[in-house]
Structures are given as C-alpha cells and as structure tokens.
Amino acid sequence: MHMDTQENPRILDQITTETPVGLPQGEGPLFGDPDPDAARAFFMGKSRSETDKRMSAKQAVERFITDGCYLAIGGFGANRIPTVILHEILRARRRGMAFLGHTSTHDFQLLCAGHCLNRVDAAYIVGLEARGLSPNARRVVQSGEVELCEWTNHALSVRLQAAASGLSYGLLRSMLGTDTFRRSAGKVVRCPFTGKKFVALPALWPDVAVIHVHEADVFGNARIRGISVADMELARAAKRLIITAERLVPNLEIRQDPTRTAIPYYLVDAVVHAPFGSYPGNMPYEYFSDEDHLMQWLAAEKDPEIFARFLDQYIYQVADFDEYLQLCGGLGRLRELRDQECLAAD
C-alpha cells in the first residue's frame, strides 16, 4: 500500500512478533470454505425486503435443505430445538449432509436415525447429557459412516462469531495442547502484541441453519426468551435461515420493543409457525421436555430392528408434526408438560 511502504519506510523494517513457523496445526478435515469474500458474494444477493416468509416445515425443507448441504441447528441439546424441521428432514430422506455438532443431543440422535450425515464438526455428539448416550448415534459414528472434526463448544461459537463478523478466522484460548486440537482444523498462532499463543479457528458459514424461537413476525424478526446459547452468532453466520416459532406476532409488536429482537428479519429465509415445535425438547417458559418419550427413544434404539419400527411409527409413516404430537399424547400430554415448565418452582 502506497502510504505505508512509501511514506513510512520504517514499517517494512519492523517484523511483528507473530511467527507461526513451527507452531502446531490440527490434522482434522475442514468442512466448508472460510473465505469471507465468497460469503459476501452470497449475501450481496440475499433479499433485504420485508416479505411474508411463511411456509410449512415441509416447504422450508424442500426449498432450503438439500442433500450434501452444511446444516446447523439452534438451541442446546434437547432445549429449544426445531424438532418440527428435523422430522421433515428425515421424511425428505436427506443424505450426505455436514452438521454443526455443538451440544447436539436429540437433534443429532434424529439425524443419525435418518442417516442424513457424512461430515460432522463435533463438540458434543452421541451423548444425551444426564439421560445417557444414544446407542444408535454411537453405532453410526463408530461405524465410520461419518467423518469427524473435533472442536469444543466455545470453539464452534467462535467459528460462527468469526463468520458473523465477516472475518475468515477467530481466536480461542482453549483446545491448546490437547488431542481435541490435534483432531481439529485449528492452527496455533501468536499474538503480535504479546507473543501469546492462541488457536486460530476457521470461520464457519453453514449453508442453512434452523432456529426455534418464541415469537416471530411473518418477515422473520424473532425473539428468544431465556438463554440464546450460540443462536445470535449462528443466525448471522448462516447463509440461509429457517425460523420455527411457537407464535407469530404482528410486526408492530416487534417494532414496539426493538431491543428484544434477537434475530432481525433480513437474516431469515423462511418462517414456520410451529407451536410445540421443540417437543419432545424443553421450550423455556413454554413446556418442559417429555422425559418419558425421550426414554422411549433410548429404549427403542437398543435394538436396530425395534428402532426401525419405532421410526416408522413416529416419523416415516406420519404425515406431519401435528400427527406426531397427537401420537405422543396430544393436547393432554402437552398441557402436562406446560404445567411442569410453568409451575416449576411453586
């Protein structure tokens, strides 16, 4: 650049303390391109207009979730996840997808049940937190059907944050010195100011993300109550974004308290009105998780044949998510879960 090299020759004589030579690099595969200019070229063409983006879960999957795409799911574990979309992905028999596995539990369990994945950025997979481990997800992962790259939960949020910031990488101070790093696609770099080591993490721009929220308007402006986990970053990093919402609200309600907008409409491609859309997961302030049904999943998974019939019964031979809710006890059961959530500590 003319100013720095011609007008300030001393700059060329200085060498920053950033000397990456010989610093460790991860051996893991990099799924996706961290180039922010490829992402910018995509976003240049994305609509900024306030248009009515409502569609069914089935339509959203058909239109935006393709074989081989990189998929990310919002929420955490079995909390505030868009089960309504995950079932449609299975019914649509999607294959060969990449997946963002940041504390994924029931979502990962579902995608493994459907054999939808072949690449996974893994921070937390196959586990179900206090509920145990998914026998089927373990079979899938242990078979080698899915190629893995290891990360931590924070690393994945930093990768999303880097993408959301229009950068090609972000920095992290964990993972250093471990096999988690060795099996990642990170690279150790040095701070040019302090010489300290950090892990450089490649920006991650998922092809499509699905986030379940409490309220959205038809344009996609969305509100989340309770923890946002990594959804603020994810909504901004994803190229396409499907919002599933417990409730639709008028745009005027959004505009009357814009502080509460967690996801602005221009990030959003589809709005799916999906009451109880996180079932059997926990939707904060709405309904608790259905632990009985989640235990049925765990039990069914033990035997592949029983599990195949279970999936037929609950997903493949089911027309839509409403029918699934009906199968699981319908309004009566949902009312119980609502009481369990909302009367919790009284």
Binding site: A39, R48, S49, A164, T261
Partner: protein, 256 residues
Amino acid sequence: MSASYNMMEMMICAAARILEDGKTVAVGTGAPCAAAMLAQKTHAPNLVIAFEAGGLAPRLSQMPISVGDSRTFFQANSAAGMAEMMTTCARGMVDYAFLGGAQIDKYGNLNSTSVGDYKKPKVRFPGSGGANDFASLCWRTLIMTVHNRSRFVEKVEFLTSPGYLGGEGEREEAGLPPGTGPYKIITDLAILGYGEKSRRMRLESLHPGVSVDKVRENTGFALEMPEKVALTPEPTAEALRVLREQVDPQRYVIGK
C-alpha cells in the same frame, strides 16, 4: 437553476434517486438521512435504513440529531449495537453508505481527521468515527458535499476513510473486500462517479445551469471527463412535495 427548488433539495432528490428499492443503506444525520427517507417514501419503499449505533429499519418520523439518538430506532425492527451494524456491513449485507469529509481526493479518499501537522494540527476534525468502517465494508459509498477547491484536493492531508487509495487494485492489495469502493458524489454542481479502471473521479452529469468550466474551477485536480456530459434531472414535483411535507417539514435540512 429554477427558483422552484433550492440546491439542497436538488442534491437530496438526486441522491435519493440513486438508492434502489430492496437495498440497505447506512446513513448519518442531515442530508443523507433525508435522501434515504425520500427514497423510501417514493420509489424505494423496501429500502432498509441502518444507523451505525445500532438502529435498524426505524420508522423515521423526525430527523435524528445523532446517529445514536432515539429517533434512529423509533419503532425499528431491531435496536442492537454498533458491532451488530458493523459486522452486518462486513458480511456484505449493506449496499450503500453515505460519508462525508473535510477533503476528498481524486480517488475518493476522504479526510475527516485533521489538516496541518498531525501532532499539532491546524484544524482537528472528529476522525473516522464509523466512516472508515463503512467505506471499507459497504459495497458502495456515496458522498454529498459542497463543491469547492478546499474540499476537492489533489491529495487528502490525512487519509481517514478509504476511497480507491492510490488507484486500481490498491484496495484489494491493502486487504479490503473486493468489489467495494466509492460510487457517486453528489455536489451542489454535479454528480460524479469513478473511472472503472483508473478509479479516478469522473464527471457524470451537470446540474441545470452549471458549466463544465465551473466544475473544473471548483475542483483541485483534473477530473476525468465522459464522452458526453449528461444533465442531472431536476427534482420532480412529487419528490419535492414528499421531501417538504413528509421528510423534512421543519426544514432542518432543506433550509428555511
């Protein structure tokens, strides 16, 4: 020049015409904000107006005094923070940004920092604020300014916000996102653009009653000239009506 509109009205109407429907524009206070509001109320109802401090798509019923005052997020779709806005620009989601400055040079570089010796300046201006960020990260930057030799200089004394730096390829070489840069300058004399390869400022159209010589006299460097100089269209009656009645009824910007 017709007596039916003043020069500020002319400039605002000309700037508004550039803004397309369905695009995003980052604006400051004053004339750029008026231009964006006018565009929104006429040909570009889906124009999304964003303010650097965090206001996105407000219902602008009054002119903001600050790009962070409460009018910039009145009944907005979102009231977030500065990082939210700037990273939205960095992701390539902001199409236009309006900038200003005390000096502009032939490559569209802007000085809003200082004149004279940097460490003991003759005049200190505010500095970049968010201008350098917008000029770096938005797709197209626009400038509205009065046209005279003290502003249109051969070389800015301090390069606060990047235009095309030293010419073709220099933005990319510096690391700025490809495909970005200065787009148009709307002055009280003319509309100017940039040569596609040379990246140098180029006359595009003259306002009614302005000669090429008058523009040259008021420009401190040699302008590129098009084969044929166009005439800037005059504001339509409808645009003037909306500007006066709905955008700036108090005539803060368009004058009394």
